[in-house]
């Protein structure tokens, strides 16, 4: 996996981006967490969160113009959360803020000119970072501007509470000292005596402070907005000096102080003043938050507006805060929900799993549990495709020899069977060398409904001019999903050769996965879905009852509106009123995609059960795997062909999943049948050497353990041929083992007059040898 694209994809996931309120705050107060504390009645916790970002929480809680509120997502559904009022409630009812811990004392020192909010914020921040700080204030007391405010807005106790915190940080304060006055130091003196100076001298011109300071036309100091640096390398400036007087804001002043303190810290540590500072100050949030489904609500009104919220009112108001997070993909995908996190973290885990040299690969199963269906990208505001991440990871695991052999083995062997002599066939119609059309039913429909495949092939031969050939085989999707790109390319290559040999016909697919694979893998080959070629059914008779079916479009038709529309037309002609299950483009997977059914049956089960539960109506789909997945979960579901060409089932929606063994047998039988019936070749039914009696209960065990009846037969044949088996004298049962591939199969059976009764089977991959 390419580390750069990993980083880019991680960045696409906005789940960890700060919410709008935090991003808009000049000092990035974690308002979401603060409100969460208040929700829980923990106002002291709220205050301590505020104090973490704001040196003077008592003052700021009362004066901040709360730029967080206009961007609050709650404002899209009702009124914004009154974050400012909640901060005030924390300050009033949350007790004293916890003292900030000072880092070990450093040798370098800083001077701050101006004892307003900005200067003191810089002083506090620098003191916390361990620098000895001296503040020079021209007036008789600190915070002169704030002392003029009414006690209702800012009581004197709030000021004193915050200033006492400054004492604890041992900041030296000298009031009544106007820099540059006779007897007082000049800025140049300070720059000489201290390692850095912050000028927070208030509004108005600053002429005559220092010849080394470049001034703007209005006499104010030229200040770099990113760093608060001036033309003097040791002097920084900010606060209301660089604000329009009418626009003074406590939080903006405070932000400048914090920003200058960061710059001074960097200067004194010899670090870059400018590197990686783009995240400071107010930002637009990248976090996507859907407010869909939330009922509008108005802000809680305090009983006494002049006193603000009491404790109980604050808790109620905080309860209006929306859970500001994205998780759009996690909401729609059982796989992403199963691992209880979100793509940004998953991508990191997957990358670590890919690059780990020693120890267990803990994310292997997670990588293999994605259906690759693309729904996550379809709902993601940044279109982040987790499927591509998982597929690349699988390809990398295969390349490094780290793909667990058991994960996809059954599916790959099934594919090998479909590509082998037992099923594969690529032929023009009888008597022809080439054909205009090639019917490609796919391995799953052939395994599930072989009779319908034969019927469709007959109809296409009757309907379409130019001859219709037949291709039985596999499109290679299992290899692709398993990350085995080389094997996949091999399948496509031989498919293309067959297509050339048959005269470059139009391939008509009955499976949307095959369709997608061929269209993307062999762009030069014309491919059309069966649903645009098959003649519509005869119109229902005059008295025929219309039926209502909920449509499940296979996830592999996402974005293929033409095929989805063609299917709806056919359904309408067949007398079906279609109930839509989802918005077009948001098709969900039945759990088979990406071979998840084999890699993680639990997740696959969650997916199909979720989909099956979306409507009480019978479902109709046009993918055999989807239909059989629903059937496995007991959900009544029809395949479109049940309506178009019929079936021998009395209630086709209740037809059970044929299962893994039967699918394999059906494919082999279909080929032999078509060879006989269409091409007149002597392909009789293969008589089984051993007649096996397998009860439904035992068959269910075989299916769950992914053991084919055919595998069982091989074990019994081997045991009977070699005599190598165990015997239980009490029951007369035999137990035999055989290892035809990388798996050892064990079968418990007994012999009767009718043949062999299978009682149990299991398997393991370890090899066992007597010493």
């Amino acid at each position: 996996m390419d580390p750069r694209s990993v980083r880019e994809r991680e960045a696409q996931c906005t789940q960890e981006s700060p919410p709008a309120c935090t991003a808009a705050c000049p000092v990035h107060v974690d308002a979401r967490a603060l409100v969460d504390k208040v929700q829980k009645g923990d106002l002291a916790g709220g205050l301590s969160l505020l104090a973490r970002h704001v040196p003077f929480p008592q003052i700021v809680a009362r004066l901040c113009p709360h730029p967080c509120e206009p961007v609050c997502k709650r404002g899209e559904v009702g009124e914004p959360v009154r974050i400012g009022a909640l901060e005030r409630a924390c300050a009033e009812h949350g007790g004293p803020a916890p003292p900030r811990v000072r880092q070990p004392r450093k040798r370098k020192r800083a001077a701050v000119v101006g004892g307003g909010l900005s200067g003191l914020a810089a002083a506090a921040e620098l003191a916390v970072r361990g620098y000895p700080v001296e503040v020079l204030e021209a007036g008789p007391a600190l915070l002169p501007r704030l002392r003029g405010l009414s006690a209702k807005v800012l009581p004197a106790e709030a000021i004193e509470a915050d200033l006492s915190a400054l004492d604890r940080l041992e900041v030296v304060v000298r009031c009544g000292v106007r820099v540059g006055d006779p007897g007082a130091p000049t800025v140049d003196d300070l720059a000489e005596r201290f390692d850095a100076v912050y000028l927070a001298v208030g509004p108005g011109p600053a002429r005559g402070l220092s010849a080394a300071l470049a001034l703007a036309g209005d006499g104010r100091i030229e200040i770099d907005p990113l760093t608060c640096a001036t033309s003097h390398p040791k002097v920084f400036a900010g606060g209301s000096h660089r604000q329009a007087p009418a626009a003074w804001s406590s939080i903006a002043s405070l932000q400048d102080g914090v920003r200058a303190a960061v710059s001074i810290d960097r200067l004194l540590q010899g670090a870059s003043l400018t590197a990686r500072r783009e995240g400071e100050g107010p930002l637009e949030s990248r976090l996507y938050v859907s407010t869909k489904g939330f009922a509008p609500s108005r802000a809680v009104a305090p009983a006494d507006p002049s006193r603000g919220y009491d404790r109980e009112e604050a808790v109620r108001e905080a309860g209006r805060c929306l859970p500001c997070q994205c998780l759009e993909c996690v909401k729609v995908c059982e796989y992403l929900a199963h691992y209880k996190s979100y793509p940004r973290r998953y991508i990191r885990e997957i990358y670590n799993n890919d690059t780990i040299l020693m120890g267990a690969h803990l994310a292997n199963r997670m990588v293999n549990s994605c259906t690759l269906c693309g729904l996550c990208a379809a709902v993601c505001p940044e279109k982040l495709p987790m499927g591509e991440v998982c597929l690349e990871a699988r390809q990398s695991m295969v390349a490094k020899g780290k793909m667990p052999p058991s994960t996809h083995e059954f599916a790959l062997q099934d594919m090998a069977f479909s590509l082998g002599p037992g099923f594969a066939l690529a032929r023009p119609p009888p008597g022809a060398d080439s054909c205009a059309t090639l019917f490609f039913p796919g391995c799953q429909l052939s395994g599930s409904s072989p009779d319908q495949v034969a019927e469709v092939y007959a109809r296409l031969r009757a309907q379409l001019p130019g001859g219709v050939g037949l291709f039985l085989g596999c499109c290679g999707a299992p290899a692709r999903w398993a990350g085995r790109e080389e094997a996949f390319r091999g399948v496509l290559c031989s498919l293309e050769e067959a297509w050339e040999r048959l005269g470059r016909p139009v391939i008509v697919t009955a499976c949307s996965s095959c369709h997608k694979v061929l269209r993307e893998g062999l762009p030069q080959v014309p491919v059309e879905p069966l649903w645009t070629r098959l003649a519509p059914p005869p119109p229902p008779g005059p008295g025929a009852r219309r039926r209502s079916l909920a449509i499940h479009d296979p996830c592999t038709t996402r974005g293929d509106v033409a095929v989805q529309e063609a299917v709806r037309r056919l359904l309408a002609q067949a007398g079906v009123d279609v109930v839509e299950l989802n918005e077009r483009g948001l098709e969900t997977c039945c759990g088979f995609g990406g071979l998840v059914r084999f890699a993680n049956p639990e997740v696959a089960g969650k997916m199909v059960r979720r989909r099956a539960g979306e409507s009480a109506a019978d479902y109709v789909t046009y993918c055999a795997t989807c239909r059989d997945s629903f059937a496995r979960e007991g959900k009544r579901a029809l395949h479109l062909l049940d309506l178009l060409v019929g079936t021998d089932q009395a209630d086709p929606a209740a037809r059970p999943d044929p299962g893994l063994s039967r699918r394999r047998e059906n494919r082999a039988r279909l080929k032999r049948r078509l060879l006989r019936e269409v091409w007149g070749e002597p392909a009789g039914e293969e008589g089984a050497s051993v007649e096996l009696e397998v009860s439904p209960e035992v068959l269910a065990v075989l299916e769950r353990r992914m053991i084919l009846v055919e595998d069982v037969r091989k074990v019994v044949e081997h045991a009977e041929r070699t005599g190598q088996k165990l015997e239980d004298p009490a029951t007369g049962h035999f137990l035999a083992a055989h290892r035809p591939v990388e798996v050892t199969y064990w079968v418990e059976y007994s012999r009767t007059d009718r043949g062999v009764v299978v009682h149990n089977a299991y398997s393991h991959r370890m090899q066992v040898a007597a010493q």
Partner: protein, 71 residues
Amino acid sequence: MTTAGQGEGGERSWACARCKVPLVQGKVTVSYLGNEFPLELLRCPSCGFVLVSEALATGKMLQAEQALEDK
């Protein structure tokens, strides 16, 4: 050695059908993906055929296989 032919949990009792002798506990080697471990399992004292019980195959052996696959 445990009682001949006694399976795990004692619920089944297998004998080698070819050699007509009860199984006995003996040393075997199990291996997977290049890793080998010694183990004591029931086996035929005559032909060496080793019994892997259902409980072992679907329990500890499966866990070990998965752990080795994720190594």
